[in-house]
C-alpha cells in the first residue's frame, strides 16, 4: 500500500505535466486531458495496491488516460476533424506500452499555448501552473489573492477558449518565436514575483509560487537550451532566491540587500545562477532578463570582497532603462547612482520621475525617504517615510521603515 502510494506520488510529481501536455497536444483539449489523467490516477489508487506497481508507471497512466479520453470523446461525439488525432494517440500509446520508446515531451508546446496572445495575460501564469505543474485552483488562487472558485472558473474559461478557438499545439514560427517566448518568460516571472513580495509569509492567505516558478524556469532552459533570455530569467530568479534567507534577521526583521550577511546567501543557488548567465552570454542575444540577472550578479560579487561595484551596477541599470523603462528599473538606477555618485545625483533622477507614475508606488517613497535623509532634508524625508509606511503591504518592511524614520528625530 505504502509502496503504491509512493509510486503514485512520484509519478504525479515527475510526469504530470508531461502526461497532460502529451494528451492535450493530441486531443487539443486541455480540460479533457486533465480530467482523463485525474481518472487514471484515481484508477491507479485502487489497482496498484492490489496488482502491484507496474514496471513503467508512466506508460500505465498514459494508457489508462488515453482510453478515458477516447471514451469521453466518443460519448461527446467529437468533431470529425479530431478523430484522426485521437487515433494517432491510440497508435502511439500502443507502441509505448510495448517498446521502451519514450513518449515525446510536449510541455514546451503546452507552455506556448498557455501564454498565447489570445489568452488573457492575467490567466497565462495560472494556466501554466495548473497544466504543466498540476497545481490545483485553490493553491493558485491563494498566490494571486482571489477566491478559489473564481480562479477555477477563470481557468475553465481559458481552457474552453483554447479548445473552441483551436489554439495550435505547436512551436511558433521562427519569426513569431521572440514575442511568443517573451509571453512565456513574463508568465513564469509573474509566478516568481507572486512568491517574492511576501517573503516572510506574513499574509496567511498568500502562498508564494517561487519554487514552482524556478521549476518552470529550469524546465524551459532544458527545453530551449539556446534561448539566452530563458537562461537570463532563470539566473535572475536563482539570484533572488539565493538571498531569501538573508532578507530576514533572527527576529524576522527586514534586512536590505546592502546590509545582508553574505554568509547566509545560498552558494549552490548562486553557482547555478552564475552558470546559467554565463551560458547565455555566448549565444549573443542580449535582453532584459540577462541584464537584470547581471545586475543581481554584480550585487552578489559582494560575497568575494568589501563592497559592490556601484558604478558597474549603475551602468547596467542605464542599459536596462533603455531596454525596458519600467518604474522598477528607473528606481534601481536612481539607487545605484546615489551609491556610486552621491545622494544628490540619485535624488535628481528620482525627482525627474512623473508624480502620477510614482504616487502610489511604495518602493519609490522608501527610496526617496532614504535619499532625502542622506541629503539632510529632514522634513521631506519624514513625509516620504510616512507615505512609504502607509503604502507597505509587508509588516517587516513597515517596521524597518518606521525604525529608519525614528532615526530622523
Amino acid at each position: 500500500m505504502d509502496e503504491a502510494a509512493r509510486a503514485i506520488e512520484q509519478a504525479a510529481r515527475d510526469s504530470y505535466g508531461r502526461l497532460v501536455a502529451y494528451l492535450a497536444s493530441r486531443s487539443r483539449d486541455v480540460a479533457a486531458a486533465e480530467d482523463a489523467l485525474a481518472d487514471a490516477f484515481q484508477a491507479a489508487l485502487t489497482v496498484w495496491p492490489q496488482a502491484g506497481v507496474p514496471e513503467r508507471p508512466e506508460a500505465w497512466l498514459l494508457t489508462a488516460a488515453r482510453r478515458r479520453l477516447i471514451d469521453a470523446a466518443r460519448r461527446a461525439g467529437v468533431q470529425r476533424a479530431a478523430v484522426p488525432d485521437l487515433l494517432t494517440l491510440t497508435d502511439e500509446a500502443a507502441q509505448e506500452t510495448t517498446a521502451t520508446v519514450e513518449f515525446p515531451d510536449e510541455r514546451l508546446k503546452l507552455l506556448f499555448v498557455c501564454a498565447h496572445p489570445a489568452i488573457d495575460p492575467a490567466l497565462r501564469t495560472p494556466l501554466m501552473l495548473q497544466t504543466v505543474l498540476g497545481l490545483d485552483a485553490a493553491r493558485i488562487a491563494s498566490a494571486f489573492l482571489v477566491q478559489p472558485a473564481t480562479m477555477g472558473q477563470r481557468l475553465s474559461r481559458a481552457k474552453a477558449k483554447i479548445r473552441l478557438a483551436k489554439i495550435r499545439f505547436d512551436l511558433p514560427e521562427p519569426a513569431e518565436l521572440p514575442p511568443r517566448l517573451a509571453c512565456v518568460l513574463e508568465a513564469i516571472y509573474a509566478a516568481y514575483g507572486s512568491g517574492w513580495d511576501d517573503v516572510a509569509g506574513a499574509d496567511p492567505r498568500r502562498r508564494g509560487l517561487a519554487a514552482e516558478a524556478i521549476h518552470l524556469g529550469r524546465l524551459l532552459t532544458r527545453l530551449l537550451p539556446d534561448e539566452p533570455e530563458a537562461l537570463g530569467l532563470l539566473a535572475l530568479m536563482l539570484h533572488c532566491e539565493a538571498r531569501r534567507e538573508a532578507r530576514r534577521d533572527a527576529t524576522g526583521g527586514y534586512v536590505p540587500l546592502t546590509q545582508q550577511d553574505t554568509a547566509r546567501w545560498s552558494r549552490p543557488l548562486l553557482a547555478e545562477a552564475e552558470a546559467a548567465l554565463a551560458s547565455a552570454a555566448p549565444l549573443g542575444r542580449f535582453g532584459r532578463f540577462q541584464l537584470e540577472a547581471a545586475i543581481q550578479s554584480a550585487h552578489a560579487q559582494r560575497r568575494h570582497g568589501p563592497g559592490a561595484d556601484w558604478e558597474a551596477i549603475a551602468l547596467l541599470y542605464e542599459g536596462l532603462v533603455r531596454l525596458a523603462p519600467t518604474v522598477g528599473a528607473l528606481l534601481g538606477r536612481a539607487a545605484a547612482v546615489a551609491e556610486a555618485r552621491g545622494a544628490a545625483a540619485g535624488w535628481a533622477l528620482l525627482a525627474a520621475l512623473p508624480a502620477a507614475t510614482v504616487a502610489g508606488h511604495q518602493p519609490y517613497w522608501a527610496l526617496a525617504a532614504h535619499l532625502l535623509q542622506r541629503l539632510g532634508r529632514r522634513d521631506a524625508a519624514q513625509d516620504a517615510y510616512t507615505r512609504a509606511i502607509g503604502l507597505s503591504e509587508d509588516a517587516a518592511a513597515r517596521a524597518f521603515l518606521a525604525a529608519q524614520a525614528a532615526r530622523l528625530a
Binding site: 461525439g77 467529437v78 468533431q79 489570445a118 473552441l164 478557438a165 483551436k166 489554439i167 495550435r168 511558433p172
Partner: protein
Amino acid sequence: MNYILLIYEDADAFTARTDPARAATHFAGWQAYAQALREAGVMTGGAALQVPGAATTVRLRDGERLVQDGPFAETKEQLGGFFVIDVPDLDAALAWAARAPAASYGAMEVRPEMSMSH
C-alpha cells in the same frame, strides 16, 4: 475549421465608402484582400454590410414586436462586414485577420464557427 472575421469600422471608414476622393483607395484595399483570401483557397464566404444607419433592430417582447431604427448597439465602431475562412487553427486565422485593411484603421474580431454537426 471555419473562422468568421468580423470587420469593425468607425464612422470615418463608413464615410470613406462613398467619398469620391477616398472610395477607390478604400475598396481597392478590400478587393486585394478578398482576392488574396480566394487565391489562398481559404475563403468560404462573407458579405459587406450597408452603413449602420441602414440597420433596423427587431425584438419581440410580451408578444409585441418592437422595431427600432439603428443597429443593436450604438458603439463607436460598428460591424461593417465579415469573411468566413477555412484555416487549420487560430494562429492562421489571426494571421489573415491582421492583413485585413480594417486591422489598421479599425478592428478585426476573430470567432470560431460553432459546429452544429453533432
